[in-house]
């Protein structure tokens, strides 16, 4: 009787959308990671930039920063919540738990990437 009452097909699309959105969030630190590794390389080969001492430092600092970002950032959950209230979407405790779970999984992914930064820093420095 209400519009949008038959969402079986939509559900699959929604899950696919969520996966894409997660990738978008992860893309930023991955791009930063790649840039830190790649951009100094030509300078190291051509102009003697101290790649093995400076790049690990930068990677380590950015990795630690990323831990803090992941721990403190709500990944836009608050904005979604405010928008839901503004347009009149009913929010239940179940929705809040779902948001917390999603926030937690994003945070863990960021932690993983931050660990990658730090692991790479050690690898570049020692290997």
């Amino acid at each position: 009787m209400y519009q949008g009452d038959e969402p079986e097909e939509l559900e699959k699309l929604v899950h696919a959308d969520a996966r894409k959105a997660r990738l978008k969030y992860l893309l930023v630190p991955i791009i930063i990671y790649s840039l830190i590794l790649v951009v100094p390389a030509p300078f190291a080969f051509e102009y003697g930039f101290p790649y093995r001492s400076d790049v690990p430092t930068i990677l380590f600092i950015v990795g630690v920063l990323l831990f803090f970002v992941a721990a403190w950032w709500d990944f836009g959950a608050k904005k979604v919540l405010n928008e839901s209230v503004r347009i009149g979407v009913k929010i239940t405790n179940d929705d809040i738990s779902y948001m917390e779970k999603q926030g937690f999984s994003l945070m863990m992914m960021y932690f993983g990437i931050a660990s990658l930064f730090i692991a790479t820093a050690f690898a570049v420095f020692y290997i």
């Binding site: 009787m1 209400y2 519009q3 949008g4 009452d5 969402p7 939509l10 559900e11 929604v14 899950h15 959308d17 969520a18 894409k20 959105a21 997660r22 978008k24 969030y25 990944f75 836009g76 959950a77 904005k79 979604v80 919540l81 928008e83 839901s84 209230v85 347009i87 009149g88 979407v89 009913k90 929010i91 179940d94 929705d95 779902y98 948001m99 999603q102 926030g103 994003l106």
Partner: protein, 737 residues
Amino acid sequence: MEEVKEVESKEFTGNSVMSIKNLSVNFKVAEGTVNALDRVSLDLAYGETIGIVGESGSGKSTFANAMIALLPENAVISGDIVFEGERLPYLSNVGRKEKKRDVKILDAKLRAIRWKEISMIFQGAMNSFNPAYTIGKQLKQVFQIHTDFDLDQINKKMKEVVIKAGLNPSVLASYPHELSGGMKQRAVIALALALNPKMVIADEPTTGLDVVVQAKLISTLKKLRASGDLKSLVIISHDLGVVSQLADRVAVLYAGRLMEIGSVMDIYLNSRNPYTLALLENYPSMRKARERVLGIPGTPPDLLNPPKGCRFAERCKFADSICTQVDPPVVQISPGHFSACHFADKVNVKTAEKKYSATNDILSSHSSGGLPLIKTVDLTKFFGLRSSAAGSIFVQAGKKSVAHAVEKLNIEIKEGEIYAIVGESGSGKTTVGRLLLKSIEPTAGKLFFNIGEDNVLELSNKTLSNEKIREFRSMSQLIMQDPYDSLNPKMSVFDTVAEPIEALKLEKDPSRIEAMVSQSLESAGLSPASNYIFRFPHELSGGERQRVGVARALSVPSVKFLLADEPISMMDISLRAHFLNNILELRQNRKLSIVYITHDMASARYVSDRMLIMYLGMPVEEGETESVITNPLHPYTKALIQAVPEPNPTWKPERTGIIGEIGSIVNVPKGCRFYDRCIFRKDICKDEAPPKREESGHWYLCHFSQSELIVNSPEEMERDVTGIKTPQGSSINVSGR
């Protein structure tokens, strides 16, 4: 005022729940002393409802706060407030030198009175719920603090009290944001009635609510009074219609003084005070909506330096030299009816009609309009929670997350036409306004704007060049809703009005800009402009601020289209009339097309040529304003018109012909949008979209013709937000007005 005090004491002695004698309240502020209340006396009898009316700043809320001893520390109080024979203790009168122990004793005394004996429905209280707690938890606190009930008793009492307030007990488990405005206000009423107090003070209890919800709330309050659940009531409002429905007696306040007091019939039908009569004459009721209203000239006096004599003299059309010299005597008109006026014997409804609607001209029919300026074709706007990456992640699959803000809007606004868009909050009016101003992009559909000489811009085209958009911006302007918040307090009037000229880079020469600003201030009614140009918002009255908003919109000379979004909702009656007249003059002088967005049918009738009624994002009826008002075709329009309050005690809002409150734009019905609230609904309405029925330019969306609109059961009309269904009964026809 001495005379009032004496006579009233005789009338109500021994029978009063509260007796106020010669109450004066002065606030000490940096600039001096504000005389907020001046020797006000009145008695409230057991079981009586007294209404207190007046404009903003007349002292209504100060009076209410004084009755429950909630005045701030800078208030200096004289006179007596006696509640059930005992003088109300005042913390503010204790002073810093008093011992802490005394303060504690007074505090304890007040705590015993507040809420248990006297409770209050505060202004805007529905927005003061703690968003983190359920309604039940907040209601439970009242019992936990003031009673010794155990949990079972509290739960039982809570259920009883929410049902009394017209709510379903399931709301106890809801968070405030899950409830509509009307339901929240009912929850506030439940809080006030929780401890069965002897007296309830309701400060603007219906302000901020839509007319339909307001009418239903009035009905609930009436029922509570009739059942005895609401004992003595003090209702404070600037809305004469609301007070006329609920009060037994009415007191009229102006600039801190009591101007008139009497029974509701005395005040509304036989007033003998120029101020009361001015308020009544300027009240925007449907009955008088086509008559020219002149408003009350001037502004209330500065209470830092109150004028000598009658405080209303400067604005009074009956005033004489004596009024500005001598305090007016209190004249007894009939038993219980007193008026503070030098000319109380000469002033009456007939003489006031002559003075306040001097021209008495029924507004001639509005312009039929010229060429189309704006055209929309199936204009649609959806807001999706999943449109952002965060939304895609945080919104659960299967959860409805699309708001159908506006759907399939087809309108045509002509040059020089005032086009009203009317509906309750949540009907999509403001979204339409934002779409028309291109401040948001439509999801689907087309929007055209005629920039002149048959050059039509398609504003919905996303590839429109910046140059064209700037050209459109120079032709369209907005008047905002709130004259208090929409002006930057750090910007002078000049800076505010010159802002669009500078932003659109229309002029660089400072002297030319000043000339343009002066001209727009003059055309907005701020004359002479030199008096206003260097003032800051805090130096202006509410009406002047709104005019600055109009001047800002008019400062661009090429403006052809003006959008006024609820421009009078924050204004007093007197200011409303001035503003609406200003709009009519602008249309006449500058041939502007104006889209007037409002939930106030009466003002829409006063200014507009054509009218669109919206419900849950859908346009449901459109036509010439007079045709829509005098012959409403859609059930929603009928209900809206029935719900507009009349300042007349004989008006009955009990049957508004509508069920519950406006739904959610996220969960819209498949068939007719109005299905959930319609008293004429049938099965076909549930799943099939209604067709458009048209008669000579006046159309509505409904499955049924007027003769087919038959209510299934009389009880259907009584169904309330409790959602309690009643058995089916015989059919009655309530189509038409």
